[in-house]
């Protein structure tokens, strides 16, 4: 396919056309936090960002959402499902977060029963990814298998070459998004393509300096859980769940009811396997009573159970979980263990 480019000055035209067709979510700063939020008319996305503080998953799997509502009526209970899905464009997502959608996509679709709230939103969403100009500190995407210059799951990929973006269209959906504003795009010249390739090569070279060894993830995870370092790690964990809430692949949730006069809503909200009460059963039995069992679950789900069930690693190397308040850096710890050759 012919490679396109779009001048940065024409971006507002494209965004305007997209917004006329769909809800456009892009990185913005809200109260000092960068996150993906819906652009209102006149809103400018903030595209010179490192990565958003909160992960992209929020757009398709919100922190809280209403699943069903009920009303008590003279004819009895009326229960209704809620569907807020709508045509959506995600604009400017980083390759790691886009790759994170792949894990969620499989988690919410596979196993015989689909999650309709995820599926309806995801199927109506076009993803326009923006290659990082420079590595975000702490990011190790390539070590976690992320294609940093053309991520899987993106419909369009933009690479910054200064005054313009080189545009890779990866799907029919992506083509449709580009066609909406075809006059904003021009054919990319040979030198533009070279500039884009060089930007990618520079990025990868810089990222290589942040690489960590996550080869043989399952054996590595098991070796880590047997290593002396492990004791130091789980003993520090506060079970706060920050690592899960910020992670672009974590999908644990809780479901609870909120009543108001004569009716109510059933809400789901993020939960975390780090929580002390997450697996506490009626009667007091708890399958994961201490931070040791809970953090074991986190390590194993990301590096063994998830890959075994879904076929992809549960970590995309965004580095957000390094914001742990007690400086637990699981991936760095994992990269340090010696993985013995299987005998």
């Amino acid at each position: 396919m012919d490679r396109l480019k779009i001048l940065k000055s024409r971006l507002p035209d494209w965004l305007g056309k997209l917004r006329a067709q769909a809800a456009v979510y892009a990185p913005v700063e809200r109260a000092g936090v960068t996150c993906f939020a819906r652009l209102a008319p006149g809103d400018e996305p903030q595209l010179d960002y490192g990565n958003t503080d909160t992960p992209l998953k929020e757009v398709l799997f919100p922190q809280t959402e209403c699943l069903i509502t009920w009303q008590r009526t003279p004819e009895g209970l009326q229960v209704q499902e809620v569907d807020t899905s709508e045509p959506t464009v995600i604009f400017g997502a980083r390759p790691c977060d886009v790759t994170g959608l792949r894990f969620l996509d499989r988690a919410f679709r596979l196993g015989g029963i689909e999650d309709p709230y995820w599926v309806r939103r995801r199927d109506k969403t076009t993803v326009i990814s923006l290659v990082c100009p420079h590595p975000v500190p702490g990011c190790f995407g390539p070590s976690a298998g992320v294609n940093e210059t053309s991520p899987e799951g993106a419909d369009v990929v933009l690479t910054d070459i200064g005054s313009a973006y080189v545009v890779e269209v990866k799907s029919e959906q992506g083509q449709a998004a580009v066609d909406l504003a075809s006059d904003a795009f021009t054919s990319a010249a040979e030198e533009d393509l070279i500039a884009a390739r060089e930007a990618g090569e520079t990025l990868l070279a810089e990222l290589a300096e942040q690489a960590i060894d996550l080869e043989e993830p399952e054996a590595r995870a098991k070796a880590f859980l047997q290593s002396p370092a492990w004791e130091q790690v789980w003993n520090r964990c506060l079970s706060c769940g920050i690592c899960a809430f910020l992670c672009p692949t974590c999908h644990c949730f809780d479901i609870c009811d909120q009543s108001c006069r004569g009716g109510g809503e059933r809400i789901r909200c993020y939960d975390t396997c780090s929580s002390k009460i997450y697996t506490k059963q009626a009667g007091g039995h708890n399958a994961r009573p201490t931070a040791k069992e809970r953090l074991t679950q986190r390590v194993m789900h990301k590096f063994s159970y998830g890959p075994e069930r879904l076929g992809v690693l549960g970590c995309v190397g965004c580095g957000r979980c390094r914001r742990c308040p007690v400086d637990i850096d699981l991936q760095l710890e994992l990269s340090r263990v010696e993985v013995k050759e299987p005998v």
């Binding site: 069903i68 229960v79 196993g111 309709p116 059933r266 075994e308």
Partner: protein, 275 residues
Amino acid sequence: MKNPYLPHVAVIQDIRDEGPGLKSFDLAFRDGSVWEEFRPQPGQFVELSVFGEGEAPFGVATGAHETGLLRLSIQQVGRLTKMLHSMAPGDEVGVRGPFGNGWPLEAAKGKNLILIGGGIGMPPVRSALVSAMAEKDQYESISLFYGARSPEHITYADEIEQWIASDDAKINVTVDVGDDTWPGHVGVITTLLEDEHASPANAVTMTCGPPIMIHFVIPTLTKLGFSDDQIIVSLEARMKCGIGKCGRCNLGAEYICLDGPVFSYDHLQTMGIRL
């Protein structure tokens, strides 16, 4: 798109006391046609809604041949179950499901079926028992080993009398602590299995009970000569979604709500799970 989170409205038809803090609820879907697609299999569970309080998973006590009424037997332990225990016939609740894989009864045909239940694990065991008894010619034999805390804690006491009288299955009941009125076996369920010489010959066992019971029953069965693939257990876990999405019941690469709750012990061994 079919929404697995959307409950069907059901109406409480009947409530019976089954022992201290335990009640059985018979539910009928308000829209009677729901039953045809619902049809729970023995060993499956449902997510029950008490609107305003939330949802909780409960094992289905109804047998495969008993159509129209969904029976749940529910111990009052917390908020939702307390609310439920205060409800009356005619009140409406929500039901979604049925979820989980259920007991492998088909594969047990032609064999000596040994059902082992304890405490609040009885509803799915009842379901398996009455379903098997309804087709008793298809099994070599059917037996039940049931352990309750005390005589007053025996669930389905009236039915147990009928089962004993019917001769369709061999019914063995024990209580942890007896009283003056109790003529039967006293001791935990493992002693009952040993005293009755439960035999592995052409047999399959299916066990449901609290984790502590399963923990002790498995080594007892092993000691009696049962191989790991003759030991089928139904596991419990805290659950929310019931469909393998919320993550709560994750066990290795599987989900208890979706791939279980019924597992064979040899499969659990290959997963490295200790019970």
